[in-house]
Amino acid sequence: MPDEPSWYSSFWTYLDFARDDVLELTIDHALVVILAVALATVIGVVLGVLTYRTDRPRELVLAVTGTFLTIPSLALFGLFIAIPMLGLGGRSVVVGLVMYGLLPIVRNTIVGLREVDPAIVESAQGMGMARTERLWRIELPLAWPVILTGMRVSTLVLIGIAAIGAYINGPGLGELIFSGLARIGSATALNQVLAGILGIMVLAVLFDLVYVAISRFTTSKGIR
């Protein structure tokens, strides 16, 4: 009697079989996350820049973006189905992800800008550098490493949450996980779930490597 195939050899067999699908879903997953982080960065940095010097607005922005993170993602996505402009699909997922991704970026933008040595800003002002120029040439470049760290945290959070997006027909590896969970007990169910989880972990590692590279290339040698 031949040995029963062990679960992991059957997993590799499955992965080999479904390779193209898994790869496509992984790429979709990555694209959704990149789009959401990019939007969250634009919105988050703008919010940070607008509020870092005033107490009340700053606290308000942090409180609101912090509250976003406490909403269970399943509930939020479910809620979006009912909203006419959003509904089922990728658009709702991206909007949700942007909301979840805001806090780390806004927070780090504010912290980074507030940590810039006031003497540096004053000497720039004393040389006749206008407010916007000071922001672009001095404050944002000095805050950049901190902002980038916020983007990195945000990305890691969103990779996980993006999987839930499949619940409302969003793209990405969540599809494997949800369809596996729906068919628990069948031959490929466990393999699908495992493939989804593995894909997400690989993505997380890849994104982190990309951030290390970005940080290396975009941070001035003078503040590294």
Partner: protein, 403 residues
Amino acid sequence: MNDSTGSAPEAGKIKIRLEGLSKRFPGQGEDAVDNLSMEIPEGEIIILVGPSGCGKTTTMKLINRIIEPTSGRIFLDDEDVTKVNPDLLRRRIGYVIQQIGLFPHVTIADNIATVPKMLGWKKDRINERVDELLETVGMDPGNYRDRYPKELSGGQRQRVGVARAMSADPDVMLMDEPFGAIDPITRDRLQNEFLRLQEQIKKTIIFVTHDIDEAIKMGDRIAILREQSHIAQFDTPERILVNPADDFVADFIGRGASLKRLSLSRVRDVELHQWPTAQDGTGHDEVRRLLEASDKSAVLVLDSQQRPMRWVNAEHLQRAGDGAALGEIGLPAEAVVQPNATLSDTLNEMLTARYSTAIVVDSSSAYQGIVDIDTINDTVRSMRRAERVRLREDERNDEQVSS
């Protein structure tokens, strides 16, 4: 309202005029600067000095409108600049603060080029200017232009800060405790370098410090401020030391005013003594003859460029034996000063080296003469005598007035 007015006596052209300048910060009951009027002559170092909280830094920042005045007017070259675009105004005024505030994320060259870039200079001109300025502040452009601020020492950062403030060749520079965060030895050297530089560039400099010794050393004129930037006295260091306007000024100058006066006289102002010298390589017998012929106990050995090397006396000669070169025996020639050193610095050098003489050399380090401790003593004594005579005259005048 207290009207405090300072006008510079015997001054040349007025570069900056402050007219009834006041500043009240929001939420405060009292003005930080109250109705200050002052005339600042061109090409001089004007020191604003006073106890902490007297408003001296606020006053300085009112001039380039980092702090906007609540009332009053500021004139630069007779032009009312109280309402002009502050960014354009600041590009005409160099600015150095204690923390220096170099931009850490750009190179030394880019730091210095900040204002010329804003003014839209051509690249070649900026590069030339950066190299020129680095050389002016004694830093090798090839070595430093592409470095970052974190790679420099405190003293070097300070130099770059000064170079950056001078980049667009402003007529006016504002300096807020520029040497405050530097160790005493480096500070002294930077102060001397800066004074030498000022002799060439002749900028109008407004210099804030809380240190009266620094004020006396650096200032062409000193404004001693009490709270709310009221001027207690605005005059040359000499006259403030000899003739303090009131008890506040006298207290602020402190005791040891005659010692402080040593900071006012320089080596070039006193008579140098000569000393027997011998070239390195002179025979020992020749040196012994020199010693016998003079009333001094040692000779100063000079190298071929007339630079001081060693002090050698009869005992050294005897102990070393006939073959030894003069340049290798005796004691090292320490306590060497240049003619622009103050007598206070000179005394300091002597005490550090534990010699009773200081050797004076010119800018190429060649021997010029000797200042000894008696010369310094005499200077202090004659200053004190002059002061006593002046006091007595003042008293006599007072008596005549009251009788």
